[in-house]
Symmetry: C2
Subunit: 329 residues, 2 copies
């Protein structure tokens, strides 16, 4: 009798019904954003699309993290001021709040710490924080909106970053087929996708790619088992920690919406998701995947594409006579 009860208990535990997938599976669902300051979100959305935060008045956050394109630019590395080609692949802004830290090397602890970085990066928006604030200060409608949101009309780069971050927090992609399956809808995934997920766990990919982001929670060496060869000179996390052991260590990227965020890796060297899967399995977990296995894992990864936020373009307030003029060079 005891054995029978044990068998029943074990069967229940492993039955993977909707009641326990949410807790037992190593991948967690993406929850919609909540507890947001909606006034700050609206201000942040304006700043997100605001090219006057760049020296040329041509580049905005959305230029490289395009919300019509999975929150990326689908370029190997981004185009910045005066057509400077940036050093690294643009990571997606979708669900970015859930990352352990921001940027590939984790040099910003959160979205707010990240948001002001590109503004004064000479290879990106090439402005200065002082001029960005001066620009916003010169525009009466921004003055009013900052006052409404922050209680006084003193505009600072920290407030700018805080508002952009608040908008970015809205950019979640819930209800992917995989999440619906996690929530109990057995038909949300077909058999190939389920097989792919099983392989994804069995082959060890899940060791780094787990949690709500299916990644984004640890740093790992690119080329853990075998070296990764690239012409990209980025040294990764050692630029932050100063440690030699952190050379070529990067934040494990999220696999959420990965079917949209090609090309892949920090150097944007690989355009095919299946090829990226094969390379990662080989270099990171020492697994030679068969063509069929790679296909199935790739199909599972496609099921991680969620519902994208509906973003209505803001109307940016006009400049005044005091607004600094764009500088093309």
């Amino acid at each position: 009798m005891k054995y029978i009860l044990l068998i029943i208990a074990l069967t229940l535990l492993s039955s993977n019904t909707y009641a326990d997938r949410l807790t037992s599976e190593p991948i967690k669902i993406i929850e919609p954003a909540n507890n947001l300051n909606m006034g700050m979100v609206e201000l942040g959305k304006k700043l997100w699309f605001e090219p006057r935060l760049s020296r040329s008045n041509f580049i905005s956050c959305n230029s490289c993290h395009n919300l019509a394109k999975g929150g990326v630019d689908n370029l190997p590395s981004s185009i910045g001021h005066e057509w400077t080609i940036g050093p690294i692949n643009s990571p997606t802004v979708l669900n970015a709040e859930l990352n352990i830290a921001q940027f590939w090397n984790g040099r910003a602890r959160d979205l707010q710490a990240q948001a002001s970085g590109p503004i004064d990066n000479p290879k990106e928006m090439a402005f200065t924080h002082t001029l960005a604030v001066e620009t916003l200060n010169s525009i009466p409608q921004y003055k009013n909106e900052f006052t409404k949101v922050f209680g006084n009309d003193m505009i600072t780069i920290d407030k700018v970053a805080m508002a952009i971050a608040e908008f970015e927090k809205t950019l979640r992609t819930p209800n992917s087929p995989f999440d619906l399956w996690l929530k109990g809808d057995d038909n949300a995934l077909n058999q190939t996708e389920k097989d792919g997920y099983k392989l994804f766990k069995e082959k060890g990919c899940i060791a780094c790619h787990s949690g709500a982001l299916v990644g984004g929670s640890t740093y790992q060496k690119m080329g853990l088992i075998k070296p990764y060869y690239t012409s990209n000179s980025d040294v990764g996390r050692s630029a932050v920690t100063g440690k030699d052991s952190d050379k070529f260590v990067f934040k494990v990227p999220t696999l959420r919406n990965i079917s949209l965020t090609y090309p892949y890796f920090h150097d944007g060297a690989v355009w095919s998701l299946k090829e990226a899967v094969i390379i990662m399995a080989d270099l990171q977990v020492g697994q030679k995947l068969s063509d069929d296995e790679a296909d199935k894992i790739t199909k599972f990864l496609h099921s991680l594409t969620g519902e994208h936020p509906k973003v209505t373009l803001p109307q940016l307030p006009p400049s005044s006579a005091e607004t600094p003029k764009p500088n093309m060079h």
Copy 2:
């Protein structure tokens, strides 16, 4: 008795009540768009925001005709492929359908004829029509959408332009304060704005700036009474007609939403609307405006800013393995 009747009739004719402003005033209201093919509009919206219509995959129609910024880029002249600075100021796409023709020199008869131009202009999107069509052809979701809209899956540059044009037709800005006044709301304009409009007519600005667009219906020499000095080398309409008499002749720009579409003139040389008013009055109609007159006309012009279309960003379909890769150079 006859005289009394005549006086009553004349009084009624000139009484400017809402019943007759719509017909008697030389400026007409902006009607909302109608009779549109909504499937084509949706496809056109995707193509409008589609950077894969450019060689770099970085520039879309919206880069220079930014719908968050009055349908322009607010730059003296636009930034194109490899940071090429274009030859002329980007005209607004808002209400553009109502123009007599498209581009400053009128070289495209309508929106459809215009829409494919920037795609293969080496200073703008720097692509070829062949590669643009090949790109769209390689993306299954576009194939499906073209089939749904056009009845077959043959994608051509003409269909691309037709769809973009259909989307652009939605970009009307009705219900400006001035239009509400035209429709009979006496309080939609304050006294200064009404005085400005009176001056605008009395000084002769109305000769070219009339109709629904407050412009856009004729070509005129830039510097009609006195010469206009500029470092911009564009010869204007003579490039289209081959006539020497059309040198420095440009399409009269719309004044709709003019408070948002700075900097002004084909060379984008003037940032202040009031300064632009003073220069135009001097060079085009030989009127030296007082500071007060220029102020009033400028305030009237601000009343031409209408309700902007609510544009929700599309989700662009992902590339396939066959999609041509971006070319940054």
